[in-house]
């Protein structure tokens, strides 16, 4: 995709993740998932789409359009909500893996 896109691609791959929501103890109920953006590492903060939380809202999706509602606290969702986040290799552990694969000593040809 050319040099113009190199940095954007790297940034996107570093920040991209997938988020899945499921019900504790009810694997058969299925799960909901979407994409997300990693905002910060250690601590890990992720921003993702709110749509996968609708099935877990105690007051139902109506809570999202209640007058004046622009944010809802975490306890607006049921206790059985389980969340998982998954992402690709980070720049750091790619380097560490590269380190591992390079032996400490080498015999450069003169």
């Amino acid at each position: 995709m050319g040099r113009q896109w190199g940095p954007a691609m790297r940034a996107a791959e570093q920040a991209g993740c997938v988020v899945s929501a499921s019900r504790a103890g009810r694997p058969k109920a299925g799960s909901w998932s979407c994409s997300g953006v990693i905002l910060s590492r250690r601590p890990g903060l992720v921003l993702c789409h709110g749509g996968i939380f609708t099935p877990f809202l105690r007051a139902g999706s109506g809570a999202l359009t209640a007058t004046g509602a622009s944010f809802l606290s975490s306890d607006s969702c049921g206790d059985d909500l389980r969340l998982n986040v998954q992402w690709g290799p980070t720049a750091a552990n790619t380097e560490s893996r590269a380190e591992q694969s390079r032996p400490g000593l080498c015999t450069p040809q003169c």
Partner: protein
């Protein structure tokens, strides 16, 4: 072929991190986004619009699910990932920089990054990339023609310039208007969402100021550079044309002369209203000085205005066409007067010629009803390539294909336009009513006869 038995080679060569459990900190929405959404897609228009969103749970009826999805559109969630022992090798601190709202102009290249079908098959689909441009904006509600699929909701959209900054999140990957796929993805600008997240976090968790401070802040403009990139000058060349109850797009070819399509302004001498939105909005009256006959293959009309279109750039007409070159269409399709013109990008997919003369251009840009009469540009040079005349409809199924569309090459019009600008003479334009039969055959999308049928006498 494939990896040796027993050795696992990740399909995209990058081992994924194991899933990490996380906790929900809060759900938040951007009130300004929802207000613009209601204005553009609500009210009378609501019936026409459909948005695809996350995969439904089997237990929910389709109608119920669609209502849930619409309510959740424009809502985002802030999560905290639980630490894990491997964390010491991970970097610390913000992962992204965020561009301020409004810093990117229409037509700016964008890169969307999401995982189609979410966690269904991350080995294959994690962080799939899609490229496009910023097609339109209304406050924090942005549109891009980068193709996104269900499951990419919440994915990041990044700018090429400044490189790799977060611009927006995917709010709804697919939009349908009147059961026709529009080919645009609905985005919510990231800066206002993060601003709302910071405020909500501090409101809900008084001790969370340090956490709130970890959320990325907007990038300042590098010293001395203007905060807002003016963007490609050609993006300001399209005007909105209204003739009676019909409206479409047009492009200024001289300060008081606009070209549009005949089906937008069919009757000579009829009054028209032309609106320009950038660099500043102006409303100017004019009239139709020329419109081709219904029988002409060239669906063209010429408007003469009562005032200059101040500040609207007059594009340079192209002389050559290069199949495969990057092109852009600017037009008022999809939103008409409710929003400024949209920019969509693609390539010049075909130049159809008769006797070595270009008579039709095809592109892969998304073109919608209302874009007719608008300009087709070479993205690199900004030269005017043609006038958008139509997209494609399958008469059998009724389906419309925005990404296959037809424009009239500006080289067909240029000699006649110059003659009119110089002398006011419409003679050259009248010739468009007498185009040769092979040209008519092309514009009727019929197969040209290999040779004229031979008489049996």
């Amino acid at each position: 072929a494939g990896p040796e038995p027993g050795r696992y080679a990740p399909p995209r060569g990058r081992p994924m991190q194991p899933p990490r459990s996380a906790e929900l900190l809060l759900l938040l929405s951007c009130p300004a986004f929802r207000a613009h959404f209601a204005r553009l897609f609500g009210g009378e228009a609501a019936e026409q619009w459909r948005f695809a969103s996350v995969a439904p749970d089997d237990e929910v009826s389709e109608e119920e699910e669609e209502e849930d999805q619409l309510r959740a559109l424009g809502w985002f969630a802030l999560l905290r990932v639980r630490p894990s022992p491997e964390e010491e090798v991970e970097e610390r601190g913000p992962v992204v920089a965020v561009t301020p709202l409004g810093a990117l102009p229409k037509g700016a290249p964008l890169l969307a990054c999401g995982s189609p079908f979410g966690a269904f098959c991350p080995d294959i689909f994690l962080n799939t990339l899609s490229r496009g441009v910023l097609s339109n904006s209304a406050g924090p509600l942005l549109l891009t023609d980068a193709r996104c699929l269900p499951g990419t909701e919440g994915g990041g959209v990044f700018a090429a310039r400044p490189a790799g900054v977060l611009v927006a999140l995917v709010a709804a990957p697919l939009c349908w208007k009147a059961r026709e796929w529009v080919g645009l993805t609905l985005l919510c600008a990231a800066a206002p969402v993060l601003c709302a997240a910071r405020a909500a976090l501090c409101h809900l968790h008084p001790g969370a100021a340090a956490l709130a401070d970890l959320l990325p802040h907007e990038m300042g403009a590098p010293w001395g550079l203007p905060l807002r990139d003016p963007g490609p000058p050609w993006a300001a060349a399209a005007v909105l044309v209204e003739c009676g109850t019909v409206w479409g797009s047009g492009v200024a070819v001289a300060p008081r002369v606009v070209v549009t399509c005949r089906h937008v302004a069919p009757r000579e001498a009829a009054k028209v209203l032309v609106r320009s939105t950038t660099p500043k909005s102006a409303i100017i009256w004019g009239h139709v000085v020329f419109a081709t006959q219904e029988t002409s293959p060239y669906d063209i009309a010429l408007l003469s205005l009562e005032e200059d279109l101040d500040g609207v750039p007059i594009p340079v007409p192209a002389e050559h066409f290069h199949e495969g070159e990057a092109v852009s269409v600017v037009g008022f399709g999809v939103f008409g007067q409710a929003c400024g013109p949209s920019v969509t990008s693609g390539i010049l997919s075909a130049v159809v010629q008769v006797d070595d003369t270009p008579v039709m251009l095809q592109t892969t840009c998304a073109v919608h009803g209302g874009s007719s009469g608008g300009p087709l540009f070479s993205t690199c040079s900004g030269d005017l390539l043609g006038i958008v005349a139509s997209n494609t409809r399958d008469n059998n199924t009724g389906a419309t294909y925005p990404h296959l569309n037809f424009s009239i090459p500006i080289t067909v019009l240029q000699p006649a336009l110059q003659r009119y600008s110089r002398t006011g003479d419409l003679g050259g334009l009248r010739q468009l009513d007498h185009a040769a039969e092979p040209v008519r055959v092309v514009w009727r999308l019929q197969r040209p006869l290999a040779e004229a049928p031979r008489s049996k006498l």
